[in-house]
Assembly symmetry: C2
Homo-oligomer: 224 residues x 2
């Protein structure tokens, strides 16, 4: 552990493809749930799908993860499926990987639980966090928030394209940029060195989620 | 799995001693935290200690669990240490076991993660839940709420001593009764067939937590 090389886990072996990474959300008042976002992500051709919901009970998270894993398999797409925060749920539901924020279980401990067979993603806002994630054997980084975002009211201040570029220069891990990314600014994010974009609002706030995913898909394909 | 026999896990081998089982809580406004409750539990001679805090981040839960595990070891007491809900945290912090409610990861999935080396406790309110927990390889049951309790505003209706006795008759697993138990009613709970009592408020609402644990300890010793 911590030899400073790239992650040893599943990511390297898979040749991680994370260009369009969609994170689920639910808004009962707006009439959609996590599975609706997953459906649009899969039908629209996302490369990765993450189930995130801090307020969901362990049991509901497990059953949602099971269902999403089935949806991915049934779709026949090569879409990677991640569970946010709950390493136990990710393992129990046989997700492809787990994504951890800085307030979640420490990455090195998570790796002990998942073993090398699962993909480990870590959120990083600073160069220091990015380097630590690399030495903790992360397979990719979620870097941001790049721009201000309505989806995370408690998020830290945006790091901007400059902050993203600094982290890009400091580590060789795949970087998925996150935070306020949409069809208008996505190309600038790729220009700053991101390997992929993670979105929530750009999909869930759209009138037609599937159409939003398709537009993002075309844009990512044009940028990569 | 699920052969209907008693749990195959660590509990059977250890000859589980769960007479006085104390669950942590924090109330910053009252000036105490999880570690203060743990300190009182250990100094007062509790048989088991459970870290519970649904609102705690994965990272904080992990570090709290590590610290509590150290406190238990340093005390020299033979006190079992459990983590509530988070199977990943329990494993990462090398707790003796994990305790799961009906809204947490399903017990059979949790057992796959912990293996046979950890103690698995499951909350049960009904005979049906108790029997399912047994077939899911639980090592002990947390049964309640026996009485109304101020610690869990969202708890279901109390099952009373009658409900406890019905579950006692239906399964042979060790039963730790929970919910509104204090020095006044504890002996009736043991008479109804409990092998132990789990308390929160009976300790945390006391002016002197250590003194409260000691009084409960004497009472449990007199009942068992």
């Amino acid at each position: 552990m911590g030899d400073g090389s790239k992650g040893r886990g599943a990511a390297g072996m898979l040749g991680l493809k994370l260009g369009l990474y969609i994170i689920t959300y639910e808004d009962p008042a707006m009439g959609y749930g996590h599975l609706d976002v997953a459906r649009a992500a899969l039908d629209g051709g996302a490369d990765a799908l993450q189930l995130r919901g801090k307020e969901i009970s362990g049991r509901d998270m497990y059953y949602l993860a099971l269902r999403m894993g089935e949806m991915v398999n049934d779709s026949g797409n090569r879409c990677l499926f991640f569970v946010n925060d709950r390493v136990d749920v990710a393992i129990a539901a046989r997700a492809d990987g787990v994504h951890l924020g800085q307030q979640d279980l420490p990455a090195s401990r998570a790796r002990s639980l998942t073993g090398e067979g699962m993909i480990l993603g870590i959120s990083a806002t600073t160069v220091e966090e990015a380097k630590r994630a690399r030495s903790d054997d992360a397979d990719y980084l979620g870097v941001g928030p790049v721009f201000a975002t309505p989806s995370k009211a408690d998020a830290v201040a945006p790091i901007g394209l400059e902050g993203l570029a600094r982290i890009r220069e400091s580590v060789e891990l795949p970087i998925v940029a996150i935070g306020g990314i949409d069809v208008e600014n996505a190309s600038s994010v790729f220009e700053a060195g991101a390997d992929g974009i993670a979105v929530i609002s750009a999909v869930t706030a759209a009138k037609d989620m599937l159409e939003a995913v398709r537009r993002l898909r075309s844009l990512v394909d044009a940028c990569l």
